[in-house]
């Protein structure tokens, strides 16, 4: 088990292996991502029952919750990649950070916008300084920071390493930020979704939510793989192996 994992780690850590096998994976992953996303969202928006309190307005959670959770997951993934890049100086790690950052920022923005739209019928205003919305706003800022740092440093390798360090610091911080913002204010309704234990949500709503979450994750994975492939092509443009693969 452990050996398989370390072998995978080393294989996928090599740009060449990554490029070749992500190329094999993507034609399968893309249709799967689009399919789950469409099924989840259409089911949620059109067929799931209306909420007895919020009516139809709650349906935005089928976009809001997946986007928010994927944004958080993406940030954690950047932190892990950053740690790997800093400790083992793995080339793929900072390529991954570069691939994750823009789309993660977009997801955080989507979560914020849908949250605001949801807020209008629920709280009567587009913006309240509620703990979750504020955390998501700070997450967007953290993403933008990584993005800005990478763009400010001309050398791509140096930019990648700087972004690695910032992501690691950011991930340590994000936990404290979340805790502090929750202390700061906890006006929001309780957690809608619990991974462990009984969910407060009826299964007719939960099923499409989980499917759209999976859909967003897969979609995220696809874009990250594609962006990573582009970055590999840029960095390895002089390599013999790339010419052979692309021929």
């Amino acid at each position: 088990m452990w050996q398989t994992l370390t072998r995978w780690y080393h294989q996928w850590g090599s740009p060449r292996y990554f490029f070749q096998y992500s190329g094999v994976l993507l034609p399968w992953l893309w249709p799967l991502a689009v399919l789950t996303l469409v099924v989840g969202v259409v089911w949620g928006l059109a067929f799931a029952p209306a909420d007895y309190q919020q009516g139809n307005s709650y349906r935005i959670i089928f976009i809001h919750v997946p986007a928010a959770s994927a944004a958080l997951l993406g940030y954690i993934a950047m932190g892990v990649a950053g740690l790997v890049g800093l400790v083992w100086r793995m080339k793929m790690a900072d390529i991954m950070i570069k691939a994750i950052a823009p789309f993660g920022a977009v997801l955080a923005a989507i979560a914020l916008i849908t949250g605001a739209i949801w807020g209008k019928p629920t709280w009567g205003t587009y913006w309240v300084w509620d703990a979750r919305l504020t955390s998501m706003l700070l997450m967007l800022f953290l993403y933008l920071g990584v993005f800005a740092l990478m763009n400010a440093i001309p050398d791509p390798r140096q930019a990648g390493r700087a972004a690695s360090l910032l992501s690691v610091v950011g991930v340590i911080n994000v936990v404290i930020v979340k805790y502090s913002v929750e202390w700061w204010q906890s006006l929001h309704q309780g957690s809608t979704l619990k991974v462990v234990g009984e969910s407060a949500m009826p299964s007719e709503m939960l099923a499409p939510l989980l499917i759209s979450m999976l859909g967003i994750y897969l979609f995220f994975a696809c874009t990250v793989l594609m962006r990573a492939r582009t970055e590999i092509m840029v960095r390895e443009r002089k390599s013999q192996w790339l010419r052979e693969v692309l021929r």
Partner: protein, 221 residues
């Protein structure tokens, strides 16, 4: 060895360039003075926003002053000497952070109660504001130093530094200003000050390592 020498050097440097100590202090006072002008001179309103205003102003003053932490050394080539030396880079980095706080952060903390008074902060909150800043501003300097280490070679790094660092300042701001607001309402604040102290210890132990790594990266490593 290199800790004491670096500490001493930083103090001498600041002594020869007093503007670097005094300017952040002026900035701090001026920003606070803008609020009654911009919001309202009414005592009841000011006393409510006082903790937040003082804290945000202190945070910005630290952010602006910390930007110069490595810039002059970088431009003079002295930073390279720090990086090639065989001693552990952690030590001089820690010394620089501590020296920088003593020279620019501590003066802010000392004038903060006065500014609180001018904003009609209830007297029982004054001590908490002071203690909170005393525990919080070194954390701000330490976290800021990480950002500076990454942007030291970047052109127009100042605004970039703010983008990187401000989101990381949120917990200190929340607990620091929160503690002073609690105290103003007569609520107990020991727990919040303890959290600030914990963040101080964590940032002082971890940040120099991150700063060392950041300096290596921005110098081409």
């Amino acid at each position: 060895m290199s800790f004491r020498a670096t500490l001493k050097r930083e103090v001498v440097l600041a002594w020869r360039r007093p503007a670097e100590i005094i300017n952040p202090l002026f900035f701090f006072v001026m920003v606070v003075a803008m609020f009654p002008l911009g919001v309202s001179p009414k005592a009841d309103l000011l006393s409510v926003i006082a903790p937040g205003v003082v804290w945000v102003a202190a945070l910005l003053a630290v952010l602006l002053s910390v930007e110069g932490l490595f810039r002059n050394d970088f431009e003079a080539g002295a930073l390279e000497q720090m990086l090639v030396a065989p001693t552990n880079l952690y030590v001089p980095c820690l010394a620089k952070i501590i020296a920088h706080w003593l020279l620019t952060g501590l003066p802010l903390v000392l004038v903060a109660p006065l500014l609180g008074y001018m904003l009609h902060l209830p007297e029982q909150a004054s001590m908490t504001l002071f203690l909170g800043l005393l525990l919080g501003t070194p954390t701000l300097t330490a976290i800021g130093a990480i950002g500076v280490s990454l942007t030291v070679g970047v052109r127009s790094g100042g605004i970039l530094l703010a983008l990187l660092i401000l989101p990381l300042y949120v917990p200190v701001l929340v607990f620091g200003a929160g503690a002073a607001a609690y105290a103003a309402n007569g609520a107990p604040v020991e727990g919040l000050l303890a959290i600030l102290a914990a963040m101080l210890l964590a940032s002082l132990t971890l940040a120099p390592a991150a700063v060392a790594a950041g300096l290596r990266i921005s110098n081409g490593g």
